[in-house]
Structure formats: structure tokens, C-alpha cells
């Protein structure tokens, strides 16, 4: 049992090391690529553009639900006026970065893992190698750089639409004065809160996109199954590992920021 435990631990350390080398290699390798702007714009569209509708939808409903739940909680304490503070701070500090990252992982991360897995099985990655193209830098590098831009941008969108959702429930539906709501939102949220949210978004972006890319790129080595089922397994694991990593990293970063 101890031997098995040791073997598993060594395997994990090896995999983390391999993943780190893979991610830094792809990230740095992108700077040596040709036509970087074209690749970056394509990756931003793939990760960011496609996720705008889902981020806006989830952000709005999150804000609506928060407005509802927090209003009745605060009403018990006679502090309905603080609804703007509660909604704004919860979104900017925690829910915005975390839920945005989870949405992007669900939408773009899984697609990315599947695409890379398919490219691996179809020998497209080998084809790049025979052409003398560094496949990691070519396929993964632009996505990692795009993630650093897309995650904070989408988090900002999520925060804005979420705060607006809180206003719809609190002020339009439950009659909290609109001026009071917005005044509390603007007065409670500081630049430190916004900066903290963006730091989280950047970290989540780098972690999740590199995990999803790694699982897809090495689907032939990391998956126990072959072919389409192997790609499906890689996509599932990529999404699960990324989601768990987001939550664990959120706790760690929050404990440093507070």
C-alpha cells in the first residue's frame, strides 16, 4: 500500500512538472511564432467572443438571484439599503471571477480539449512537427496569451451585468431606491476589490486553459481509452480538473488577498 501510495505521489509530481514545462514552453514559444497578431485575434475570438452570450446570461441571472436572496436576508436586519454593497462586493470579489472561469471552461475549455485531442488522433499535430512547426507554441501558445486578456474582460462583463441584475430585482421588483442601490454599489467597491478580481481572473485563465490544452494535446498518453472515446474522456477530465483547480486556486488567492 505504501509502495502504491508512493508511486501515485511520484506520478502526480511528474505530471505537474510535465504540465508546467508544457505550459511555459507553449507560452514562451508563442513569442517566436510568426503571424502572432492573427493567431492571437483568432484565439481571443475562440475563447472570448464565443463566451460572451453565456457569460452575460449567467451573469444576469446570478445578479437577479442574489438581489432576491440578499434582499430578504438584509430585510430581516432592517438593512435593505445595503443591498448594493452585498451584491457588488460578492460579485466583484468572488462570484464574478469564479463563475466566469467555470463558464469559459464549460464553453471553450471543453471544445479546446476535444479539438486538440482530435488533432492528435488525426495526426495533425505530427504533421506540424514534420513541417518543422512547434505544435505546442502554434496550437496552445495563442490560447494561453488570449486567456490572459479574455478572462478579466469577461469577468468585468459578468460583474457589470450581475450588478445590473441585482438592481432589477432590488430596485425595480422590490422597491429599494435606485439611487441608494447604485450609491452603495459605487461606494462599497474599491479599486483593490476590482484588482483582486482581475488577479483571480488572470490566474484562472492561465490555469484552466493550460490544463485543458495539456489534456487534449496529450490525449494519446493521458487517456486510458483510444479514438473518439479517448478524446471524450480527455475533455471530461480537462473540464473537471480545471473546475476543481479554479475553486482551489480561489481559496488560495483569496487567503493571500484578504
Amino acid at each position: 500500500m505504501i509502495r502504491s501510495l508512493g508511486r501515485t505521489a511520484l506520478g502526480l509530481v511528474y505530471e505537474w512538472g510535465d504540465w508546467t514545462v508544457f505550459s511555459f514552453g507553449a507560452f514562451a514559444g508563442f513569442l517566436r511564432q510568426r503571424r502572432r497578431r492573427h493567431k492571437l485575434v483568432t484565439a481571443i475570438h475562440e475563447i472570448g467572443g464565443r463566451c460572451v452570450p453565456i457569460v452575460l446570461t449567467v451573469g444576469l441571472f446570478t445578479g437577479l438571484v442574489m438581489g432576491l436572496q440578499l434582499y430578504y436576508t438584509l430585510a430581516r436586519l432592517g438593512a435593505e439599503a445595503a443591498l448594493g454593497d452585498a451584491v457588488g462586493l460578492s460579485l466583484v470579489r468572488e462570484l464574478g471571477p469564479v463563475l466566469t472561469a467555470l463558464m469559459i471552461v464549460g464553453q471553450s475549455g471543453s471544445a479546446m480539449t476535444s479539438e486538440l485531442g482530435f488533432q492528435r488522433n488525426d495526426e495533425q499535430i505530427d504533421a506540424l512537427q514534420t513541417m518543422g512547426i512547434d505544435a505546442k507554441s502554434f496550437l496552445v501558445g495563442p490560447r494561453l496569451w488570449a486567456a490572459l486578456f479574455c478572462f478579466p474582460a469577461l469577468t468585468a462583463l459578468f460583474d457589470l451585468i450581475g450588478v445590473f441584475g441585482g438592481y432589477l430585482t432590488g430596485s425595480v421588483l422590490l422597491n429599494v431606491d435606485a439611487g441608494v442601490y447604485w450609491n452603495h454599489v459605487f461606494n462599497s467597491i474599491t479599486w483593490a476589490d476590482v484588482r483582486g478580481g482581475f488577479i483571480k481572473a488572470v490566474c484562472f485563465g492561465a490555469l484552466t486553459i493550460s490544463i485543458c490544452s495539456y489534456r487534449g494535446f496529450y490525449t494519446h498518453l493521458k487517456s486510458s481509452l483510444r479514438g473518439v472515446r479517448g478524446v471524450s474522456e480527455s475533455a471530461t477530465r480537462g473540464v473537471v480538473f480545471s473546475s476543481v483547480t479554479v475553486l482551489a486556486a480561489d481559496y488560495l488567492i483569496t487567503s493571500f488577498l484578504i
Binding site: 510568426r34 503571424r35 488525426d122 495526426e123 495533425q124 514534420t130 513541417m131 502554434f138
Partner: protein, 250 residues
């Protein structure tokens, strides 16, 4: 044609306890077509991938014109042309790129030619391969034969010295198979590359082969003219033919 251009010396590769390549030695002449034959799963593609540097051999050396290739298979100056190109069994074309973009990929990403020069070279090559009107279409919009030609165009666009073909006729009907063989033979004469081919299509592939290498149990069991093969060991030869037929049926 007798001059040895590509030399393979003592190439070994094993997976676990299975020894797939057990000290392969082979001399391939310049601008020739050499076909690797053998039973399914015997290691023909592994052999090709070791040459293309897609797989690291356990031991052995690959020499080009007497110079060891090491692990760097790119020509010193890539604008002058690549050393090796590889045409994959399933073509390995990028679905999100048009036929033109697929062919232009190595020129844009590695050679770094100006846009006009890339367009000129790719257009010329597509026309030479009768793909003039297919340039703007995506791989999914092309027939199987056209996809093969696009893959060949991509393999040839960098002016390689050696083109490796991994079962280029897989999944094609007999008529198209002959079409692909004619294409390889024709373009080899036109572009002057050295072709190393893995194929199950016995004896059809012999028509375009200058030499045949029979891989069996990790070793080259026969290397010579196709016409000599039948006379060399008739019993084993008929077994190989049966194995090729079973691959066809599967």
C-alpha cells in the same frame, strides 16, 4: 540510381518487451521509389516515423548523403528546401484551413516567405497538381482523391529531398489507388524527390517501385527489385499476399 542517398544503419525500436525494429540497415538511392511491405502491425509505420523524427529510435543512425541527421531534420536553410516531408495515412489536413492555407502553412510558419511569394508558389503547385479550383475549399468539401493531392502538395511545397508516404491508398477504391500510385510516380519524376512508401497494396504498388523492402520480425527480410521478390521465397511471399488481402477486407 545505384548511389546510396539515404542510409539507415542499425535502427532499433521496441515497445515494452516487443522488439519492433531490430537493427534495420537500408540503402536508398536518390530519386528512387522504395516500398516497405510487411504484415499489418509489423512496424512499417514505426520505421517511417523513426526516419521522420516523429518517434525516437532506441538505437541506430540515419544518414543523408553520408551525413548523420541526428535529431535535427530541418535543412540548415529552410528557404532552400526541407529534408523530409511526410504524407500521412489520413492526410492530416487542417479542417479549419482551406486547401490553399493548408499547402501554404509550412511556407508561412517556418520559411516566412512574403505573402506574394507564398501565393505564387502555392498557386503554381496547386495548378501542377490539378487543384487550381480547389484552393478556396475546405478539406471536408473535397473528394478523397483531391484531399490526397492537397496533402501531397503540402508535402512538396517545401521542396523536400525525401517524401515519406504512410499507406497513401488506405480507404480508396481500386481505381483511385492506381490514381494515387500514378500520382506519386508522376510527381516523383517531375519534382525529383526520393520516395519511401509504406503500402499494403501488393502487388499493385510494385509497378511504381524501384526497390522493395520486406519488413518481417524487426528485420529486412528482402531488399531488391520487385521482380526478384516472388522468386526469392515463394512460400513466404504467398503468405504476405494473403496478409495483404486480409488487411483489405478488414
Amino acid at each position: 540510381m545505384s548511389e546510396s542517398f539515404l542510409q539507415i544503419r542499425g535502427l532499433k525500436k521496441h515497445f515494452g518487451t516487443k522488439r519492433v525494429l531490430d537493427g534495420i540497415d537500408l540503402d536508398i538511392a536518390r530519386a528512387s521509389v522504395t516500398t516497405i511491405i510487411g504484415k499489418s502491425g509489423i512496424g512499417k509505420s514505426v520505421f517511417l516515423k523513426c526516419i521522420a523524427n516523429l518517434m525516437a529510435p532506441d538505437a541506430g543512425e540515419i544518414l543523408l548523403d553520408g551525413v548523420s541527421m541526428g535529431s535535427n531534420r530541418r535543412a540548415a536553410d529552410q528557404s532552400e528546401g526541407f529534408t523530409f516531408s511526410y504524407m500521412f495515412q489520413n492526410n492530416a489536413l487542417f479542417d479549419s484551413l482551406t486547401a490553399f492555407e493548408n499547402v501554404a502553412l509550412p511556407l508561412r510558419e517556418v520559411v516566412g516567405l512574403p505573402t506574394e511569394a507564398v501565393a505564387e508558389r502555392v498557386t503554381e503547385l496547386l495548378e501542377q497538381l490539378d487543384l487550381g479550383e480547389a484552393g478556396s475549399r475546405y478539406p471536408a468539401e473535397l473528394s478523397g482523391g483531391m484531399q490526397k493531392r492537397v496533402a501531397l502538395a503540402r508535402a512538396l511545397v517545401t521542396n523536400p529531398e525525401v517524401v515519406l508516404f504512410d499507406e497513401p491508398t488506405t480507404g480508396l477504391d481500386p481505381e483511385r489507388k492506381f490514381g494515387v500510385f500514378d500520382m506519386i510516380s508522376d510527381y516523383r519524376e517531375r519534382f525529383g524527390f526520393t520516395a519511401l512508401l509504406v503500402s499494403h497494396d501488393i502487388p499493385e504498388v510494385f509497378e511504381i517501385s524501384d526497390k522493395v523492402a520486406w519488413l518481417d520480425e524487426g528485420k529486412i527480410r528482402f531488399f531488391g527489385d520487385p521482380s526478384e521478390l516472388a522468386a526469392d521465397s515463394p512460400r513466404s511471399w504467398s503468405g504476405l499476399l494473403q496478409s495483404s488481402e486480409s488487411v483489405e477486407k478488414s
